[in-house]
Symmetry: C2
């Protein structure tokens, strides 16, 4: 198994950049620890470490919007990875947008450059 430099971070977490394997659009960024890394390699499905829940997180475990790993890139320092994925359900963001990066800086404002939500978050995750 490929070893990553988890020891560089005090919490043992490294960032994983997630790209659509067809378009190279950045869909999201999440964090992995050793366990999430192993689960991802074993299953071919993107796993992360949820910092808010402090637990292993299979992306899509609630929504069904699993990310199938197509390729994994590792950086020069082995402290960041890129997951190239097929995003099931068409949207990576919990807000219903395809990408979490659906806004861009326009002067002093953030503007949504992708208007259409792929899904209604309330329908997928329930009312909060």
């Amino acid at each position: 198994m490929i070893e990553l430099a988890f020891a560089k971070d005090t919490n043992g977490l490294l960032p994983a950049v997630v790209q659509d394997y067809r378009t190279d659009e950045v869909l999201m960024l999440a964090y992995i620890n050793q366990l999430a890394w192993e689960k991802t390699l074993e299953t071919g499905k993107a796993h992360y470490w949820s910092r808010s829940r402090n637990s292993l997180w299979l992306k899509g475990e609630t929504s069904g919007h699993v990310q199938l790993i197509k390729e994994i890139l590792v950086d020069c320092d082995q402290d960041t990875v890129v997951y190239k994925v097929e995003q099931l359900g068409g949207a990576a963001c919990h807000t219903g947008y395809r990408s979490c990066f659906y806004r861009k800086v326009t002067g002093d404002a953030l503007t949504v450059y992708e208007q259409e939500r792929v899904f209604d978050p309330t329908a997928v995750y329930g009312a909060k």
Copy 2:
């Protein structure tokens, strides 16, 4: 000025994913703090916070390989940004490769999928 959620991290650092604005290739990932964010917005050149040197880092200050900001994307939680840049000198990685992500996971090994270095690191940074 757009406010990011720097307070979410104990060190006030957030990840910045750097993409080539033409190809969408991920070139590198580095960290920003409030100062680096302000300098980037003010100058249109990518600034980061060097965790190893603990100082503001204008990417390219040594090599001349500055990153000109073409667009900045902000994620749903405002705790990660994407810099879409024009990479002067053609290479973002200190090893001389175009991208820091020049290797991919192939079974239990990392293989270089991009064979040619854009520059010789010794020539750019000097012998170490």
